[in-house]
């Protein structure tokens, strides 16, 4: 088979057709790992160096936080929430104070501007550099915005029981914003949209299937439908055990689901058997323990195992089970990519 471009490989795989090889990319790659593998490389340089099939851009990266107190690591996100970085987890600030603390706050709340040109600058540069070659992915996270920025998460969960109207109002804020923001992303030239809000914990969904359907799915379904109306695939990421809500996610028409979380007991082979004819599967190489502390040989075996379970006939993107975070052993990540290149060529030959 003629070798495909990285973009063609990604799109063909997402359509569940058999490409020339199994693609790989990551939602996030910590700069410590980049520095260890290719010193001095930017994220974009690194993706080219590793020949990753997609580049992935996040809102928080394209629109930086406003620094409130540098010494304390305090920042304000675009939604108005105050967040804090810690010395160890430098890449993930956690909400200290949400934007909306009461129903009264809703009446005066001003949403961020989804059209602000500055937030698209880095993406526009990526389009210039990668368009037509590597898949350009932009992430969106409406439920996480409600849960981690607009409202204190415990209060949000309790609102679902005691004040559903409050949740509807919060959802309307993100619905209005993302409707416009996703349009802008696609206008600029993004190839794939990926919704990356976690909906589940290790033991199961964060909220019941009933509440997932009522409060979480509708905004997501709108995004999927809008993407499809523009001919753009839409992928879904969520950590955790999603068996109880997997049908619901697939029924939105979403094109692929990541990462079929191994730490939450999700089995990739089972997911392939149940949903492989309707969606593309992504992920499943354990980044919690294996990529951090495993041996290279174990990493190779895990990659082979994932490909064996989900690679047949296409419809599988081999990547980590969350991201290449700061504790991942760079040598293990490099080994993972090497193994995907070695064992992921079609026709598959794993043994």
């Amino acid at each position: 088979m003629k070798s495909l471009t990285n973009l063609e490989r990604m799109l063909k795989t997402i359509r569940r057709e058999e490409p020339d090889a199994i693609p790989t990319f990551e939602i996030d790659i910590d700069e410590r790992v980049i520095e260890a593998i290719k010193p001095g490389a930017s994220y974009e340089d690194f993706c080219e160096y590793m020949d990753l099939d997609a580049v992935c851009y996040h809102e928080t990266r394209t629109d930086q936080y406003e620094v409130i107190d540098k010494a304390k690591g305090l920042v304000r996100d675009q939604w108005g929430a105050i967040k804090q970085y810690s010395a160890v987890s430098m890449s993930v600030p956690v909400t200290i104070e949400p934007a909306i603390k009461s129903k009264e706050d809703l009446t005066t709340y001003v949403s961020p501007d989804p059209d602000r040109p500055s937030r698209f600058k880095r993406l526009e540069e990526a389009v210039k550099r990668f368009k037509g070659k590597r898949a350009i992915i932009a992430t969106v996270r409406p439920f996480a915005t409600v849960k981690d920025s607009l409202r204190d998460q415990n209060e949000l969960f309790k609102d679902m029981v005691r004040d559903p109207d409050m949740v509807d109002s919060l959802n309307q804020i993100v619905r209005d914003y993302y409707r416009r923001y996703v349009k802008n992303l696609i206008d600029i030239g993004v190839d794939i949209i990926m919704e990356t809000a976690d909906w589940a914990f290790t033991h199961g969904p964060m909220v019941s299937p009933k509440y997932t359907e009522r409060f979480i799915i509708p905004v997501f379904r709108e995004i999927v439908e809008y993407c499809h109306s523009r001919g753009v695939p839409c992928l879904k990421h969520t950590d955790g055990n999603i068996w109880e809500i997997f049908d619901m996610i697939v029924e939105t028409g979403v094109d692929g689901v990541h990462p079929i979380d191994p730490l939450a007991g999700m089995d990739l082979g089972e997911a392939k058997a149940k949903y492989g004819d309707r969606i593309c599967l992504l992920g499943n190489v354990d980044c919690g323990n294996l990529l951090s502390w495993g041996t290279k040989e174990e990493v190779r075996e895990a990659v082979k195992d994932c490909i064996r379970k989900a690679g047949k006939g296409g419809g599988y993107i081999c990547m980590s089970s969350n991201s290449i975070h700061g504790a991942v052993n760079p040598e293990n990540y490099a080994e993972m990519v090497r193994a995907i290149r070695e064992y992921g060529r079609y026709p598959l030959s794993l043994d």
């Binding site: 810690s86 987890s89 956690v94 969960f157 309790k158 033991h203 199961g204 019941s208 504790a327």
Partner: protein
């Protein structure tokens, strides 16, 4: 005669004001706070714990039950304190250094308190030396370490090492938990126990006493 079952169900179902009203009624009718705790709240937390473990209720319902329990326990607290009612045990818990997540830890606290533990919440981003100070100054039975991020898990090992270096390790049992934590990891770093969720944490904590 006071209906403890009704109180237990109002707490389990997260009916905050009803749980408070029933608790007040019970106190007004002369029932001892300890009896209300034992016959009303502990059964309620058992119902909640079992339902959560079986996947019959989820976080929203669990948090509402927690609020109802707090509404009730706040009314009992003055009498419990005066009479020096014995707790199941004393538990100190915190999220390890570098990790700012607290939802899992808070669920564990809720379940422990509902099961009669006196819990001291050390908060998030707790340094090994802070854990040592707490263990040194208090008479806790168990120290709980929580982490959500893979790259903060080594801080659990650092905390246990710090306890050893300070000569405090034999003074306390250490339990670990959190999404990326595994039983093998707990064993490897020398923790006394691992709990996969809040319900298991309650059962394991009791077995460690």
């Amino acid at each position: 005669m006071f209906d403890f079952t009704e109180l237990a169900h109002s707490v389990a179902e997260g009916e905050v004001s009803k749980a408070g009203d029933l608790t007040r009624q019970a106190l007004d009718s002369g029932i001892a706070a300890k009896e209300i705790l034992d016959k009303g709240l502990l059964p309620a937390m058992e119902i909640v714990g079992n339902s959560f473990e079986k996947g019959e209720i989820y976080l929203p319902e669990l948090l509402m039950a927690g609020d109802a329990m707090k509404a009730s326990i706040e009314l009992l607290r003055p009498e419990l304190a005066t009479k020096g009612t014995a707790y199941t045990g004393k538990y100190a818990i915190g999220t390890v250094q570098g990790d700012l997540h607290d939802i899992g830890k808070n669920i564990v606290i809720l379940m422990l308190e509902g099961n009669g533990w006196e819990v001291t919440d050390l908060g998030i981003d707790v340094a090994p030396e802070q854990f040592c100070d707490v263990v040194k100054s208090g008479d806790f039975d168990i120290l709980g370490l929580s982490a959500l991020l893979t790259f903060t898990m080594p801080k659990m090992a650092d905390t246990i090492s710090a306890l050893k270096e300070a000569g405090l390790r034999s003074k306390i049992k250490v339990m670990v938990g959190g999404a990326p934590v595994t039983p093998a990891f707990a064993n490897q770093i020398g923790a006394d126990a691992y709990a996969r969720d809040a319900v298991e944490a309650v059962a394991i904590a009791k077995s460690l006493l």
